[in-house]
């Protein structure tokens, strides 16, 4: 698929990739994490990416989240051709267009729950008063109104993941990328966290791309499941 074809047909799609390739290593010994992957995700769709470790799920999520750049191929997310964006624009894209939830929470240990949630708004240029209110509201929405001033070490795993969810969703992103968001949680907590994500997605019409090993979770939480193996869709 050509670039022009992608550019001309992104209407209605949150994500479009064409021949997306990500290669690590050297020219002499290349390691392909993604091999010519082509995938379309409609706006508001909930998609699950299933696959074994090393299948390329996280690499694809990093590319979709603007954390990494493809080696080749086309990548359009939220109406932006990511491979063409400058580093500054890519950073702005990360802070406004997508919200990423990691399995390992990835909270800054030295900052409180509220400060962690404020972080994307800081880089998006939101004023202090406004972002404090938004962070409080986001944490209240995930049931942590009593934990605003707690640091990650003072919170449980489930609470930390709720903080991470609040941080990912606080800027009302069009696309939510969740990389094994319940992987470190017990089943009850996992259900609660997943419920929060899905609630947001439904309420805001956002697109969800969920990376998971859990087939049941994938079926229950998403509209479509795709499988990856050796960097390719199967």
């Amino acid at each position: 698929m050509s670039s022009a074809a992608i550019a001309g047909s992104t209407v209605g799609f949150a994500v479009r990739t064409a021949n997306l390739t990500r290669c690590y290593g050297t020219t002499a010994a290349p390691v392909f994490a993604l091999r010519g992957l082509t995938l379309d995700v409609a706006r508001g769709e909930r998609l699950a990416l299933l696959g074994k470790s090393g299948s390329g799920k996280s690499t694809l999520l990093n590319l979709l989240g603007g954390l990494d750049r493809p080696t080749s191929g086309k990548l359009s997310v939220a109406d932006r051709d990511l491979e063409r964006l400058s580093a500054r624009d890519l950073a702005r894209f990360r802070s406004t267009a997508v919200g990423v939830i990691f399995q390992a929470f990835n909270l800054i240990a030295s900052r409180t729950a509220a400060e962690n949630v404020e972080l994307p708004m800081i880089f998006a240029g939101v004023g202090p008063r406004e972002r404090r209110a938004a962070a409080r509201q986001a944490l209240e929405a995930v049931g942590l109104s009593q934990r605003l001033a707690h640091r990650p070490a003072q919170l449980s795993g489930g609470e930390n993941q709720r903080v991470a969810v609040a941080r990912a969703l606080v800027n009302r992103p069009q696309i939510v990328l969740a990389d094994e968001p319940t992987g470190n949680l017990d089943s009850n907590t996992a259900r609660e966290v997943m419920g929060l994500i899905l609630t947001h997605v439904r309420e805001h019409g956002a697109t969800l791309i969920l990376v998971t090993h859990d087939e049941e979770l994938a079926r229950e939480s998403t509209d479509r499941v795709v499988r990856l193996k050796d960097g390719q869709l199967i």
Binding site: L67, S95, N106
Partner: protein
């Protein structure tokens, strides 16, 4: 990012590592302290030197002295005949010594004297306002029927060193006025003992007599008194008679004809006048008290001599001094020039030297002093700069460690929207904050230490140099605070450039995997 966040984020990061931040900042504090103290005391000392030496136009004065060195070479050494057999090297040495010896014997090695002609040349130098010859000479002063042997001093009209000691009348107002100011002690010695009588002397004439022996072949007679006192006018007159009559009495002293011949040159065979006497009268216009101990001790090297019993205005004193022909030939012992503007002093001094004279210009001494202090404090400033550089290296090292430790945090920030420039700025701001806090604390510390330091320096100067400093030795002008702050900021920010660049280049994907 908003400007406030560009400060709060680095502050939060520094606060997170309090101990490390404190230790890093301490290095900057020390460097800034030494830098502030060095600049402060340097500026203060320079100002103090200028202030203390700039009183009474001292920097515009040049003290000129006659030069005793030969200006024109004597007979060429090559023309001097050296007798005897000797090596060429020894012959050359003896020839040089003989040439110098002959020049001394014949008076050819006279230098440039401060004669009326030379003083006229000095007065003719462009930018010279006044030439004050120091025409002091010993004389007999007759007042109220008493004759006293003393030294006639010349003084500058309106000289504050004298004006402050006036007890009656006024001080000299014009360099040429035919007036005199006398000391109350001289009045006492002349029988004017009552305090009420002091005023009565004003307007009276002070008769001044100067006697000088002629420097001609013959016999000179001196009177040495048991108590070492000066000869009186009457004794001087009697001695002159003895000197005149002595050559004629040689035949009656039991000398051999050869001895008589030796002691009686042809010109002395007939009685002649061997002394000149010059007399003048000056109106007494003021009376000064003697200087007290403090005035004597506190006198700076450039200030006028306050000792003396009769003060004549310098021009009138010089005119009287030069009446004696040989004194016109020898000149005065020194002269003080006053130059119109400070920037012309060096040029005038150069021209004075071109006349073959020597001298002292206070400005040269002051500049040497200032240069020496500049060197000392320049060295201190270098030490301070090195201290700040070392602190900067510490900061660079600490921040590089910080980048490593905060790799995951940097990755998280990038994942949620931080651009490389944001990360770079956060680290640069951390360096700048350390510089700002360290610089400010160092400055504050120097300011605090300046109080006891200043008191100590002042007491030391008062004790060792007998100078009461009126203003502080440590000064903190705005430029100093600005310089220290900017320098500390610059050094620490520069130290953060490389760590910041490293931090900005961190790959977020790799950083999020970092443990």
């Amino acid at each position: 990012m908003r400007p406030i966040d560009l400060v709060t984020l680095p502050l939060a990061a520094l606060w997170q590592q309090k101990t490390r931040t404190c230790l890093t900042t301490l290095g900057v504090v020390f460097g800034a302290f030494v830098l502030s103290a060095s600049l402060s005391i340097n500026d203060g000392v320079q100002q103090t030197i200028s202030r203390e030496s700039g009183r009474d136009d001292v920097l515009r004065r040049i003290d000129v002295f006659p030069s005793w060195r030969r200006q024109q070479p004597a007979a060429p050494a090559e023309e001097v005949v050296v007798e005897g057999k000797m090596s060429d090297a020894k012959r050359a040495r003896i020839r040089q010594a003989l040439a110098a010896y002959n020049a001394r014997q014949t008076g050819d090695d006279n230098g440039v004297m401060l004669t009326p002609e030379t003083l006229g040349k000095l007065a003719g130098i462009k930018h010279v306002l006044t030439v004050e010859p120091d025409a002091r000479q010993s004389a007999f002063a007759n007042l109220n029927g008493h004759s006293e042997s003393l030294v006639l001093n010349s003084a500058r009209p309106g000289d504050p060193a004298h004006v402050g000691r006036l007890v009656a009348g006024r001080f000299l107002e014009d360099p040429s006025e035919h007036s005199a100011v006398v000391s109350e002690f001289l009045l006492y010695r002349c029988g004017i003992t009552d305090e009420e009588s002091v005023e009565s002397i004003l307007g009276k004439k002070l008769r001044v007599e100067v006697r000088r022996s002629r420097q001609q072949p013959g016999i000179t007679v001196y009177l040495v008194k048991p108590d070492g006192a000066e000869r009186t006018r009457e004794e001087a007159e009697a001695l002159a008679k003895v000197a005149r009559g002595l050559p004629m009495l040689l035949d009656k002293l039991g000398l051999t004809p050869d001895e008589v011949k030796l002691l009686r040159p042809d010109s002395a065979s007939e009685p002649s006048e061997l002394e000149d006497e010059y007399v003048d009268e000056f109106s007494v216009v003021g009376v000064v008290r003697d200087p007290d101990e403090r005035e004597k001790n506190d006198r700076r090297w450039w200030e006028s001599n306050v000792d003396g019993e009769v003060f004549l205005p310098y021009q009138a004193a010089a005119d009287f001094f030069f009446r004696f022909p040989q004194q016109r030939e020898w000149g005065v012992s020194s002269a003080r020039l006053l130059v119109d503007r400070l920037e012309n002093v060096k040029e005038v001094f150069r021209q004075v030297k071109e006349l073959g004279l020597t001298g002292n210009a206070a400005i040269e001494f002051i500049e040497r002093e200032r240069f020496q202090w500049l060197m000392v404090f320049g060295g201190m400033t270098c030490v301070a700069a090195v201290a700040l550089m070392v602190a900067a290296m510490g900061i660079a090292n600490t921040m590089l460690m910080s980048v490593l430790e905060r790799t995951r945090e940097i990755g998280i920030m990038k994942a949620v929207g931080a651009a490389g420039a944001h990360i770079q700025f956060i680290f640069l701001a951390e360096g700048a904050l350390i510089g700002a806090v360290g610089g400010a604390l160092g400055l504050l510390m120097a300011w605090a230490v300046s109080y006891p330091g200043d008191a100590w320096v002042r007491s030391m100067v008062a004790r060792e140099m007998n100078i009461e400093l009126k203003q502080a030795i440590f000064v903190f002008p705005p430029w100093l605070a600005l310089t220290v702050m900017l320098f500390a900021l610059l050094v620490t920010t520069l130290a953060a450039v490389y760590p910041a660049w490293r931090a900005a280049r961190i790959d977020p994907v790799a950083a999020l995997r970092h443990e």
